[in-house]
């Protein structure tokens, strides 16, 4: 395992220390428990927006803490959901008196730990609402299974709900928006290489030089299927097809297209893939009116990409364009 770390068991705390000194004006970071909060939070009278999950997906979630997005983020151990006490602390630091929305990615661990934290917060008199995002079309959905994973759509959900909270929407309104976003966003990803979890030391899965994993998540899980490496046009089509047909997206839809690097895929390839994806969406009469291209929800150093498409309404467009000032995403301020 080749990593710039001192000790796998302290990698998250050590990294949080570096993040804290890198963004002194923006963030207030504690390590016991591990919470990344807005330096100027909690904002009185504003709905707080909190998310979290295992570490290793940076900049998600901590890189999205700041004006117009998250009030606090809870980083767990690498690929491990944080514990209720840490989540509770984040809720407290985000609570400006107008209630707190929890954005939970649909993983058993995240769901259970946020559930417990929400109960504890409610017991303290903080009104909490939780939404669970499950936008990964690679996973067949069913009431008998754990359901779909929360992946790229999480980034867009955090931006839009954060903007709604920032402009003063009520907890119910922000929750309503979140539900609408979740209903209209779909994602899928593929991997060229596997990530190596520090405390494991070996790649999460083994791929030959000419193989890829299609339908991967963000925790080094293998994908739904293993296929031979193909030219970019074919690879991107393997992601756009399932996304387009799932919602479905079609003629006249206005869409935000998010082309994401899983961490190790360079911008040169990412822009190339984005260009292909826009063409494939246009072929279906879908008009891309907003874009996001970059490494925003990653899986350590894994090489690969994911595509996320959100069917926009006017309010979502407004909220997307609204000011945001975080370590990883900023505009309008």
């Amino acid at each position: 395992m080749k990593k710039i770390i001192n000790d796998p068991s302290t990698v998250v705390v050590d990294s949080l220390h570096g993040m804290a000194v890198a963004h002194p004006d923006l963030l207030r970071i504690t390590t016991e428990p591990a919470v990344i909060a807005r330096a100027d939070g909690p904002v009185a009278g504003k709905v707080g927006v909190v998310s979290g999950g295992g570490s290793g997906h940076e900049p998600l979630h901590g890189g999205f803490v700041g004006l117009g997005m998250l009030d606090a983020a809870v980083p767990g151990a690498v690929f491990t959901s944080p514990t209720p006490d840490a989540i509770l602390s984040a809720i407290q630091q985000a609570n400006g008196g107008a209630g707190v929305l929890l954005i939970v990615k649909n993983y058993t661990g995240d769901v259970l730990n946020f559930e417990t934290a929400a109960e504890l917060a409610e017991a303290e008199g903080i009104s909490v609402r939780s939404v669970v995002i499950d936008d990964d079309v690679a996973v067949k959905d069913s009431t008998y299974t754990a359901g779909r994973r929360g992946v790229g759509g999480t980034v867009l959900l955090e931006k839009l709900t954060g903007a709604a909270a920032q402009r003063g929407d009520s907890l119910e309104a922000v929750e309503g928006l979140a539900t609408r976003v979740i209903a209209n966003v779909r994602s899928m990803g593929l991997a060229l290489t596997a990530p190596t979890v520090p405390h494991v030391g070996t790649p999460s899965f083994d791929l030959a030089d000419d193989e890829i994993e299609v339908g991967i998540g963000i925790h080094g899980e293998p994908g739904r299927e293993r296929l031979p490496l193909e030219p970019a046009d074919a690879l991107v089509a393997r992601l756009t097809e399932p996304i387009l047909t799932d919602l479905p997206f079609g003629d006249g839809d206005r869409v935000l297209l998010f082309t994401n690097s899983m961490g190790g895929t360079p911008l040169l390839e990412l822009y190339l893939a984005h260009g292909i994806a826009e063409r494939l969406f246009a072929d279906r009469g879908v008009s891309i009116v907003r874009r996001l291209v970059g490494p925003y929800i990653t899986s350590l150093e894994m090489q690969g990409i994911s595509l996320t498409a959100l069917k926009l309404d006017d309010e979502m467009v407004q909220l997307w364009d609204a000011p945001v000032l975080t370590a990883a995403l900023r505009w309008g301020v």
């Binding site: 259970l112 008998y144 405390h199 739904r224």
Partner: protein, 215 residues
Amino acid sequence: MGCRTDGVVAALKAAADTVVAHRDELVELDRVIGDGDHGENLQRGFQTFVVALTRSTPDKPGAAVKLLATTLISTVGGAAGPLYGTACLRAATTLGDADELTPETTVAALRAALGGVVARGKAEVGDKTMVDALTPAVDAAAEALGSGADIAGVLAAAADAAEKGAESTVPLVARKGRASYLGERSANHLDPGARSTSLLLRAFADSAAKHRSAA
């Protein structure tokens, strides 16, 4: 013949030793069909528990199990943290503040633990989870109790059944937990949580057996 707090604490410490000893095995099982942290997470939790025991000494079996419960909930994370945490919490509640454990309360505690896991995780037998190990363990424990077994006997029966139950997860396609994302590809692999459940019960049984022979 019952088992007092010291015996229960000894059993929980034995469980901690087992988790540490099998940390890498559990990580590897989870790496293949999950995200490779099950052994790491449980080790973090049980090691913290052993440290916690140096700070506070539970005076009742229930208190000892409750200390484990709260430690697991606040340090393990992932799916196993809340699941094992809730299991222990429910078990501790059934034990109340009784001074000692009996074969009856042992079975009741195991049943409550299973109830806690199912209440939180909504998994059924066959979903390829720890439930596949814990469910037959509870049934076997009850049966052993019916035929007059003592605590060590009850736990031995539970451990034997849990091991078979864990093995039974190998051919299954996961319907719950991270492995479910793999669909068909999750088959032919042992579920890490079912494996850790059988390891824990075996540690309890062995500790109780030692305790008995010592008594």
